[in-house]
Each structure stands twice: as C-alpha cells, then as structure tokens.
C-alpha cells in the first residue's frame, strides 16, 4: 500500500469548493504550512477551516482568508493576544465585518470534537463552558450532581497534518510538542494528507513508537524541514 504523493500541489488538487478541512499545529509547532500554501495556490472557495488559530504563528492561514477562500472558521484561539497587534489583520477585519462565520470552542472541547469524529462517537458531554456563553443553544444535563454540555463531533472532509517521520503506508511519528492536534485530526479526516520531514519505506519505523497508525492517513508527501524561530509576537 503506497500512499506517497509527489508534491503538496498534487495532494490537494481534488479539494472541492465547500470542503471542510482540519489543519494541525499549535501556533508554530507541527503546522503543515506547505499544504496550506498549496491550498492557496489551488484556490478552492467557501471552505470551512478547523484550526486552533487564524493567524498567530501561522500567517499562511491568514493568506487563505485574505484570498477569500474561507466561509467559516472553527477555532479555539483565533487571534493575536495583543489587541493592537491583530487589529488590522485580515482575519480580525473579516470577522468584525461578518465576512466569515466563526465558531470558537474551548481548546479541550475543540479537539475532543475531532477525536469523537474520528472514533465514531456522535457527541459527548463535557463540564467545560457551563455558565458561560459557550453553553448557548446546547443541551445541558446533570450527571452525578454536576452540569455538563452536549457537544457534537466534527468529521471534516480533509485533514492536513504534520509529522517528523512517516512511512509510505501512512504510519506517522511526531516529534515533541509538534504532535499536539495532529493525531486526532488525522483520525478525524475522511481524507488525511500528511506532510513528513523524513519519508521511509515500510519497516523503517519502530512500530511501538508510531503516534498515528497508517489506516488514518490516505496521502503522504515528503517536505523539507521548515526553518523558523518559534514566536507569536
């Protein structure tokens, strides 16, 4: 089973207008920027993007918004922390102008929705967000004396993920804090595209050390290790 694609452009070529795409990465760590740049070149429109942030540590995402490709964004920490830093970013301006629909979830709820999506769970109850605006429009139920909110799963059409190593069968090994959202997003995507810094043949990975079993990954692309200094300032 060989899932290797020759380039990121070929790996994203079939993404249609209106697709939903989960994108891994926590600020700068483990973000599949090559795939986002390829999506900008590919030009699909009316996209739903599911990603922690819409700019900080990931300016390529902002490019998707400046390019008017995004209809809806589902995030947990979309903006720069500093109000002045982000005020004139394309993302904040698009949100204020109502040009894109945005939903923000608590971080743990955000990734649990994707975990559930990948694991065949339709919805789950979480204590997070009770008594806040997060509970608006959601079923609230009491278990063992505590209140919980019903949150539904997210099952995106595509997932873009990033790994330190991968084999041609799609097994992936992440590195340190670059793992973050990537495993659950890989499982959630109907079609998951993984960029890997190191591509090996089957047998080249320690099976005990695999973080993402290949069954979740449909396309693998070798990329060069990006060179950057981690910062969101």
């Amino acid at each position: 089973m060989n899932k290797v694609f020759p380039s990121v452009d070929e790996a994203v070529a079939d993404i249609p207008d209106g697709a939903s795409i989960a994108i891994g990465g926590f600020f700068t760590a483990g973000t599949p920027n090559d795939l986002i740049q390829a999506l900008v070149r590919q030009g699909a429109k009316n996209l739903t993007i599911i990603c922690m942030q819409m700019g900080p540590g990931n300016e390529d995402i902002s490019q998707l918004i400046a390019n008017k490709q995004v209809k809806k964004a589902i995030c947990n920490y979309p903006f720069y922390r500093s109000a002045s830093r982000g005020a004139d970013s394309p993302v904040e301006m698009a949100v204020r102008a109502g040009e894109i629909e945005m939903q923000v979830f608590p971080m743990g709820t955000f990734i649990e929705k994707l975990r559930a999506g990948g694991a065949g769970i339709a919805a789950f109850y979480t204590p997070t967000g009770v008594g806040t605006v997060v509970e608006m429009g959601k079923e609230k139920r009491t278990f063992n004396g505590g209140e919980y909110l019903l949150e539904v799963a997210i099952k995106p059409d595509y997932a873009f993920v990033y790994a330190h190593k991968g084999d041609s069968m799609g097994n992936l090994v992440c590195h340190k804090t670059a793992r973050n959202y990537n495993p659950e997003m890989a499982a959630a995507g109907k079609i998951t595209i993984a960029t890997v810094e190191n591509l090996v043949e089957p047998g080249g990975l320690d099976g005990d050390a695999v973080h993402v079993p290949g069954i979740y990954v449909q396309r693998v692309v070798k990329i060069n290790r990006p060179d950057y200094f981690p910062s969101i300032e």
Binding site: F27, V95, V104, P106, T132, K176, R179
Partner: protein, 229 residues
Amino acid sequence: MTKETRKLRGLSRELMALRIANELEDGTYVNLGIGIPTLVSDWIEGRDIVLQAELGMLNTGPLAAKEEVEQDLINASCQPVTELPGSCYFSDCESFAMIRGGYMDVAVLGALQVSEKGDLAGWQNPGRGFPETIGNIGGSMDLAVGAKKVIVAMIHVTNDGEPKILKKCSYSLTAKGVVKLIVTDLAVIEVTPNGLLLQEVAPGITAEDVQSVTEPKLIISPDLKEVQF
C-alpha cells in the same frame, strides 16, 4: 477612581510570581497560563513541581537559551522551552483529558475580572469589538473547570484604575465559582463561602488602600500581614 488610588505601588510582576510559587506545594502538577502566571516558572527551578504545557508536555523545563531553541519544543505561549529529566509528550487531546479528568493540582491563570463568588472572566475583552461568543478561549475554560485549585494572578486594577475584583463580572465568564486565591500587586485575597478574605497586603499598602480599589466589601483577616517571601 481617585488620583490617590492610581498611585498605589505594589509588588512587581516578578514578586507576584514569587508569592504564587511559594503557594505551590511540592509533589504537585501545575499549569501556568499566559502572562504573569508564566513568570512563576522562574521561581520553582529545582523544586519537586511538574509543569504541564497544555499542547502536550509534562515536566516542561525553563525557557530555552538562544542556542538551545528547538522548533518542535515550545510551551503553550509559543515560547521555546527545554526538557528536564522525566519530561514526556502526548497529544493536545490527551492533555485536556488530564485537565478535565482532575489530575491537575493547580492552574495559575490571568484574569480581566474576578467576582466575590470566585467567577472568573479572562478570555474576552469587549473592547476588541467581536461578537460575544468570539475571542481567544484557548485552554482557559477547561483549566478553570478541571484544575483542583485555581489561583488568579493579575494587576489589581485596570489601566484606568478601575477595580477588576467586582461583585459581579461584567465581562464574559471563563467559569463560575472556581477561583480560590487571588494574588495581585496589592494583596493576597482568598475566596471563601462568606466572601473575600484579605490575608496579605504588599509592603506600604494598607487594608483601606486595597478596599478603595476593590468593589465588594473585603473581610479583613484577623491575621492580616505583609506579603512574605
């Protein structure tokens, strides 16, 4: 607020962090939020305290020196950090399973407002002009609900000198009734079922000074003392 209250000079951010570090017990797992809470890490080196970085790391080490920076090793504030013996990594999803699961002993969080009932408002500043459901929630709501103890670290008043400790928060809540201890530049205040208990004041600050910039009526501890380090 009056001009006098604006002149109140309390602890530096660094000393607030030291006071919080002294509050932490050995043998505990702790998560530090963005801002002043992050500074607490400077004061616990060598202690038996394990820090969690919620993107997926336990036993997070000190900030990395320039030559130590690794792209794949950051904390939740996107600062390059280092490993310690016994550091381990996991997914963000597992990280929040730990947090909601009740394994985090303490979360130290920043805040925009805290109420006398321990309500915490820290994720949405209305001044940014977004709809009421939109802002940077990040991990704050899960930590506020999941940690066994929530300590708030914040400057006592706004930049305009207005109280941030209120009878009722006017900003969007992070969680209700979760804050146990408030450490500010002026005071250390415990949230109790009877109200806010003023336990410590910064050097040169009186209980009256603290009350003058705090909306709810403070209960003055019979053991009120100057902040000790």
